[in-house]
């Protein structure tokens, strides 16, 4: 019997659907998180510019982005609530044993979301009546609240990767809990900064990408120029930072989660002078099929010299490490992440060069094509980063302290598969609706820009949920200053 089959025989049947469900819902939620964390910041930068320079175009962009924020926030909340339930529905064993050790991070997160929800309500609904600068400053703490929420989540995740802050008593129950140690685990710092920068960078490229498409379609007015330049510049500044942080986090897992590193780099035997594989697939016998092999490079990257010793997968028992397939998944997602990170650097250099020489955007259509793709590529990269983190930790849910199979719910596999089916169907609907709402807003705005707004001012279509809504029937204010403008 092959090792994989042997491992499968030892795992409860409900493990597979539980994992698939967790992975699917997390992967969906995370697509909204970059905008959730960083869109307020990008919007506030534009808002500031608009107020500072009394620039109506910048203010219009900021208003439109906050309309997008409203819709995106609602979907983020629905998908996030599902995740919180799943901790209990899928992994009761983990929460029952470890909830009080690592749960405090979630406590911070929940309070942060509370603050965020309040501030967002004020910001979104404050455009019309608040004084412009008061409105801006009431929105200004939003990025901080978002960073605080991310703090809690990442603390919890980093703890799962490098658990500490407790001792085990004779029955294996955690005692002597030290909250500070459980929050500030070895992986916390590297993960947090790499993650936070990823969020701002991704939001920047995603927003800029929208205007890059408009630019390619020939809409080269000041509106598109500004809508592209501000978020793109934010992302461009962060890209090299992210590259350095990525290099750092990789070295951190080399030191602190050596088996995950071995999976990410397809290292089978512990050795020095280890080659680097670009892509390629790990076989059950430890050989690598396909891929580009660069001699010595892995040792050099990890320890700056070729004789750095790297721990291999085979150094631990087969059921204490990711399977060959899982290792290949980790390796591919890691490589895709690093590739996209490097390609983005080239894009930024192109931008910086033109700006430095001509104080202008690049002329080439290829630049805008790449910029349009950069947003999607960043989202893909975020997914890849999480797959590296999560699949690389297998078979542990709490690294070296609890297996995923010990944490899983006793509920039958059939129920979980059914639930997975329902959740997938519902999410397809929700995300489809989300996209269609965004597209509708976009086409409406485009029509408005071309001066034919009246054509659309009818029907239920005009009230986009949570977005711009029509005036209440009574007490509608008359015409007054444009919201957020100085007059």
């Amino acid at each position: 019997m092959s090792t994989a089959a042997h491992l499968l025989a030892n795992t409860p049947a409900q493990l597979l659907p539980a994992r698939e469900l967790m992975a699917f819902t997390l992967a969906s939620h995370i697509l909204l998180v970059p905008l959730g964390v960083a869109l307020p910041f990008v919007t506030l930068v534009m808002h500031y510019r608009g107020l500072r320079k009394a620039d109506p175009v910048a203010l219009l962009l900021a208003r439109r982005w906050s309309a997008v924020m409203a819709v995106q926030f609602a979907v983020g909340i629905v998908t996030g609530t599902v995740l919180s339930f799943e901790f209990g529905l899928l992994w009761p064993g983990m929460m029952g044993r470890w909830g009080d050790v690592f749960g405090l991070g979630f406590g911070v997160e929940a309070w942060a979301f509370f603050l965020e929800a309040i501030l967002i309500a004020i910001y979104l609904y404050g455009w019309r009546r608040l004084k412009p600068w008061t409105h801006f400053w009431l929105g200004a703490p939003l990025p901080l609240a978002a960073l605080m929420g991310a703090f809690g989540i990442i603390a919890a995740n980093a703890w799962m990767n490098t658990p500490q802050g407790f001792t085990l008593d004779a029955s294996g129950k955690p005692v002597n809990v030290s909250v500070q140690q459980a929050i500030f685990t070895p992986m916390f710092g590297p993960q947090y900064w790499h993650f936070a920068v990823a969020m701002f960078l991704t939001a920047g490229y995603v927003v800029a990408g929208v205007y890059a498409v408009g630019w390619l379609r020939g809409r080269r007015d000041r509106y598109h120029r500004l809508g592209f330049t501000v978020p793109f510049t934010i992302a461009a500044i962060l890209t090299p930072v992210q590259f350095l942080l990525g290099d750092n986090i990789a070295r951190q897992i080399f030191h602190k989660q050596p088996i995950k590193f071995a999976a990410a780099e397809l290292v089978w035997d512990t050795d020095t002078h280890v080659p680097e594989y670009l892509f390629g697939r790990l076989q059950e016998d430890g050989t690598v099929k396909g891929g580009l092999k660069i001699p010595q490079l892995d040792s050099i990257l990890a320890g700056f010299k070729p004789d750095t010793q790297i721990t291999g997968l085979s150094s631990v028992a087969a059921d204490d490490r990711p399977t060959a397939t899982q290792a290949t998944i980790v390796h591919w997602s890691f490589d895709i992440m690093a590739t996209v990170g490097s390609v983005l650097i080239l894009l930024v250099l192109w931008y910086a060069w033109c700006w430095w020489r001509r104080r202008d955007l690049p002329k080439s259509r290829w630049f805008f094509r790449c910029a349009a793709v950069a947003g999607v590529a960043s989202l893909v990269t975020v997914e890849c980063g999480w797959i590296t983190t999560e699949v690389g930790r297998q078979p542990w849910i709490v690294y070296q302290n609890m297996r995923v199979s010990e944490a899983v719910t006793p509920t039958s596999a059939g129920s979980l598969w059914t639930m997975l089916g329902i959740v997938v169907a519902v999410y397809v609907l929700v995300f489809g609706a989300f996209l269609s709402v965004l597209l509708k807003m976009r086409s409406r705005w485009r029509l408005a820009d071309s001066g034919s707004a009246q054509e659309l001012a009818e029907g239920p279509e005009t009230d986009t949920p949570y977005g711009p809504r029509p005036e209440p029937a009574v007490g509608a204010p008359g015409t007054h200053r444009a919201p957020g403008s100085e007059q």
Binding site: R63, V82, I118, A473
Partner: protein, 339 residues
Amino acid sequence: MTANVVSWILLLAIAAYACGGGVDYGAGFWDLLAGGADRGKRPRWLIDHAMAPVWEVNNVWLIFVLVLMWTGFPVFFQTVFTALWLPLALAVVGMVLRGAGFALRKPTRRLAERRIYGAVFAVSSLLTPFFLGVVIGSVASGRVAPGTTASADVWANTTSITAGLLTVAATAFLGAVFLTVDARRFGAHDLVGYFRLRAWISSAALLVIGVIGLTVTDPHASYVHHGLTHGVGLVLVIVAVVALAVTAWLVAGTAAGWARYSSVAVVALLVAAWGFAQRPYLVPTSLTVQQGAGASATLQWMLIVAAVALVLIGPALVVLYRLDTHGVLEPLTDEDVAK
């Protein structure tokens, strides 16, 4: 000591969600019963209007409840989520459907599609609170104990089902009271009477289901039953009934705005009565607060985090409510994002 404080905070968060979330679910309930597309147009318009700005903030209370449970009382969390898997799974699916239905209904133009999405939204507004109520009822019924695995008789029993129905009645009551007040606020005078009638009907339903719940005794639930019919528990139940009567009286008068407070009091008092009735147990009669409590260092830190958070959030909340009551908060209009 810390564990006790945290358990009271947990109860408070449950009460807050029951009230805040309850208003939302209640709005959905009346949406369901609003009738055909033409007849239901006006009430649905008001429901959409009253709900949109608030449900995000209300939802955070639920997250608090979960986090407090798994961090403060991990074994309790594990027990509840294992034994009551199905009602909880159905509740969360309902929650997603509800959000989706609400979000999808508005941007859709075709009437047939709007009907489907609207129905999804409304039906799940009924099912989610029902199943959440069932969960509370099952915990109170004493059939859940650490190690219990999921099975239908944990929750398919009179106590649990009555609790589910009671929750639905409570949300319908809250929704109708708030919508009565909103109708007045938005100047929709035809809807004031419409929702006032519904507020009365649901008050009566709440009372009837409550009385049935207390008389149909379930041998398993004797501990909580005793707590609700004696001492502090009984006092709280009686005060809740008084508040219910006051609410029914207030919605009829000109000072209807106050009915919001008294209706919230009804629900909060009922939650409090349940909490008092099952003291000192998290799960009667198998897991006490002390037995279920997580590490004391963590509990202390939870209180510290909560204190710091209150300092940050308090002012923000005050600003929000001030701005809201002064009519400063207003959604962006199409015109605002058009130019």
